[in-house]
Symmetry: C2
Subunit: 134 residues, 2 copies
């Protein structure tokens, strides 16, 4: 808390973009690496996934069932302290249920709460994504 | 940013609880009063509602259509700086579509990002809620 405030919004945004682009290419390993050890995923249709070892099970399960072709838009990037910041974004595109091949348009909004690690890396501490389309 | 860090998790939690209980009794005025002027709501089935004047239209629209009987559980309260903190919670209960009287069980999770105003009041800066049940 007593660390000097160093403006770091570029790195904060880059961490969220790293997540969004890895998610879109179904790259579970990179997705999981963008989280802090205590990271939490809050996504539609499931309870919160808490901690990196649980996240490492959840994401492959998502990517097995659905493929995504989404474009993101960063709505805001705010650094709230030396070690914390948040990013709000939207994603829009197509998702395909792999079992059936059924494709439909999809639209989400995302709130990333990011924390700077002791190594100076911005990581996802909490992440909430919610569907815009019903 | 240079304000001294004063431990304030009780007030942070109280702000989130104030929102959750006002929402449950369809008290739009109190719900809206828990937000900062630049507050943002991210909820299922709609784009982000940005700013208090937009929030003042969105919530009455929700309460006209649906009534809620939900119990909340606070999962974590974290103060990240002198003026910022977050709360993660879950809500579970019944919601009723007013037009049809149709009731169904519902379960959500919530992420509140709160900021302390210059008057020392913790307000909702960003809020994301997502359904646990599909």
């Amino acid at each position: 808390m007593n660390d000097a405030f160093i403006e770091d919004t570029t790195a904060i945004e880059a961490a969220a973009v790293s997540y969004l682009t890895a998610f879109n290419r179904a790259d579970a390993a990179t997705v999981i690496s963008t989280y802090a050890d205590d990271g939490v995923l809050m996504a539609p249709g499931r309870p919160a996934t808490v901690g990196k070892s649980s996240l490492a099970k959840t994401y492959p399960g998502i990517f097995e069932k659905v493929s995504f072709d989404m474009k993101y838009e960063i709505k805001e990037v705010v650094q709230t302290s030396a070690a914390w910041g948040f990013v709000r974004s939207t994603t829009e595109g197509t998702q395909i249920v792999k079992a059936t091949g059924e494709a439909h348009s999809a639209s989400y909004q995302e709130l990333f709460l990011l924390r700077k690690s002791t190594d100076g890396v911005w990581q996802i501490a909490r992440y909430c994504t919610v569907n815009v389309t019903p």
